[in-house]
Amino acid sequence: MDINMKVNVLPALTYNWLHVNESSIVEENIRIDRFAIPVPENLPEGVSVETQIPADKAEEIFAKAAEIANQQNAANIQGPNGDTYGRNAGQHVHTGMGIDADRLMDSMHVMTTVICAAENRKIAEPLVLHDYMKDGEGTLSRQIIHAKRGSEITVVMDYRSEDAAAGFHGISTKLYAEQDATIHLVKVQMLGSGFVHFDDIGGVCEENAVIDLIQMEMGAHKVWNGCHINLLGKEASFQDNTGYLCRYDQQYDMNYVAEQRGRKTQSEMIFRGVLMDQAQKTFRGTIDFRNGSCGSTGDEQEDTLLLSPDVINRTIPLILCQEEDVDGRHGATIGQLGEDLLFYMQTRGISAEEAKKIMVRARLESIGRLIPEDYLRGTVEDYIRKIL
């Protein structure tokens, strides 16, 4: 199978010559062996899992949210210059990578696994989905995580393989947090250095609902990540902590969007990463305050450590705003280790090389320690130590 997709399209386009408006996944002779992520037999109490659900049926839960968003759009004032939202109008729920990821899944008839948290159940035990990939293996999978009213669920997903393994790993995860519900989603990617990997996330938050995303990207050769969260209800909230490590000739392409529609919504997105060797990374992050999102706040921070003269780092942090009563900010700090810090460490007997390792580990572990599942947290720490 050949893949040719346009993904991670910037919500408002900018200069073409920067080559950041979109990304393409062009891969030939991809072999897909598996169409679902394995689900454990023993589920935490209050969690139900249905498998092999056709996508159209599974995504019906998003219809109401899509209708509200469309009504708001119809009455909307002008979009941003270079507006691309219309491109994904066919999606039941917008995702970061966009409609081409859905089309790929549809064309391959990938069924959906629906994970549901029962109403008003606060489920302390995380549902852990391990996806161990063999060398040469290919997989596409789809999940919906549905937290019913007043519930709380934690889903941990990790994708791993042998260090030198190659293959194809594509995953789409859609989230629906009903009123007062909370979804904690943890995704950790430690695939082998020959893998092509994409991870597409889309979500909707009703009133007072929370989506909390922790994501670590450390493996694979080419990686595309997208996440688009629609904060539809009043006081809905989105928190994102993403850590990444790009080494060798890895290519990492990201597109994160917090679409704030409800009143007093909150978004906070933190990205911490390290680029080494000949790695390339493109980060797109958007806070989009829609008309009616009065009282909302949005914050997006990116901190990138550059550790090789051959890296390429592209950063495009957007704030789109059509509401007066909001507070939005973004900041980016990109560079190498400060001379003062290096000097301080050297005065304590730590060599420059060792100091760099300490700072890389500190950066990644600041995200890694947020992982709520002990075993995976330990695995991530070991993985980082092994790399360094």
Binding site: L18, G82, F289, I312, C321, E324, H330
Partner: protein, 374 residues
């Protein structure tokens, strides 16, 4: 059209430009539509060897070789479609040459007015500040309002040589039927300093992003800009900088205000090339939304191709603080005046960079915009 020069010059006399020139400017050029109608430079400035003349004369006169060497080299016609249009139909504009080591203490000014309905203006400004020289150039733009669209597709090419300093200030108040699609670019050599001060108030649609190429080692660039997008306006402005040389640095500070359905977009790019070791770049953009029928978008981009660089970016968007308005009102200031005062304060980092007369003009423009009288 040439026969109307005298009448146009009278208009500028009535506008008071020669008066302003006598008081605070080293020289003035004024362009009506496609024709330069007034050009003068003070004797003492001319005596220093400073050349300030219209573009047509420059192409044919004593400086023709120099002009040919630089004209449309920084912005080639192949750059984009409006640069191609400009290259094909340009007319008017100014040529400035400041010789080595000459410091022009008082600013030179060009004033552009597009007077004909449905017309375009395609003036070309070429400034060469030679090694160790110093210049402040001010550009002002305005036009009466018509019911048909007007187009401004000018081009500004600035060459800042080794150890030279150029400040280029613009107060743009085109009428609100204008499409302002201007291209401005500067090339800065070793130890050179390029400063842009930009106020965008007028026009219906503006796409304007002055670009600076920091070619030489230790070259510096500073861009300070304010954009006020009112009713019916779509002002897409910002700056672009390319760091090529080592130890180059850039600072971009912008303020953007949106009101009465206006669309304000801050758009920028910071490119740090592989050779630009020890480069430093800092971007800060603040936006103020004055109502919920307007738009304010921030679209910056950074492309960094070396680890030996330090790049910081900061953006904020918000509204006028109710507490600040309440405080001023409790001191007997009317709410409208209090809001105008806060907006003027927001614009202060830009106005303080302008000569006094222009800062006053800018503050008056802000007051007029706030009262909706423009």
């Amino acid at each position: 059209m040439g026969g109307s020069s005298g009448r146009h010059q009278d208009t500028f006399e009535r506008l008071g430009i020669p008066q302003a020139e006598r008081e605070s400017l080293a020289g003035v050029g004024a362009q009506y539509d496609s024709e330069l109608v007034y050009h003068n430079v003070k004797d003492e400035v001319a005596a220093q060897g400073v050349i300030y003349t219209d573009m047509e004369s420059a192409l044919k006169g004593d400086y023709a070789d120099m002009v040919h060497e630089y004209f449309m080299k920084l912005v080639p016609p192949t750059d984009h479609k409006f640069a191609a249009l400009h290259g094909a139909v340009w007319s008017g504009g100014s040529f400035v040459y400041v010789p080595k080591g000459v410091k022009v203490d008082i600013p030179l000014q060009s004033y552009f007015r597009l007077n004909a309905a449905g017309a375009g203006q395609f003036e070309h400004t070429l400034i060469i500040v030679d090694e160790g020289a110093d210049l402040h150039f001010i550009e002002g733009c305005s036009a009466p309002k018509y019911n048909v669209a007007n187009l401004h597709a000018g081009c500004v090419e600035l060459f800042v040589k080794k150890n030279a300093h150029l400040r280029y200030s613009t107060i743009e108040n085109w009428s609100k039927n204008m499409y302002n699609l201007n291209t401005k670019r500067a090339l800065v050599e070793e130890n050179g300093i390029m400063e842009w001060v930009s106020g965008s108030f007028g026009s219906h649609v503006s796409y304007l992003y002055p670009m600076t190429i920091l070619k030489g080692a230790h070259a510096k660039m500073e861009y300070t800009g304010i954009t006020f997008a009112g009713k019916g306006q779509n002002l897409d402005t910002g700056a672009k900088v390319v760091h090529q040389g080592p130890y180059t640095s850039s600072v971009i500070t912008t303020k953007s205000i949106s009101k009465d359905g206006g669309v304000g977009t801050y758009r920028s790019s910071v490119t740090i090339q592989k050779e630009a070791k020890h480069a430093k770049a800092s971007v800060a953009c603040d936006s103020l939304m004055l109502d919920s029928i307007s738009r304010s978008d921030t679209i910056p981009g950074m492309d960094i191709r070396t680890d030996d660089a330090d790049v910081g970016h900061e953006a904020k968007i918000g509204r006028i603080s109710d507490d600040a308005v309440f405080y001023l009102m409790s001191r007997g200031i009317k709410e409208a005046d209090a809001r105008a005062m806060i907006v003027s304060g927001f614009a202060n980092p830009v106005s303080k960079e302008l000569p006094l007369e222009y800062a006053v003009e800018m503050n008056n423009l802000i007051k007029l915009e706030m009262s909706g009288n423009m």
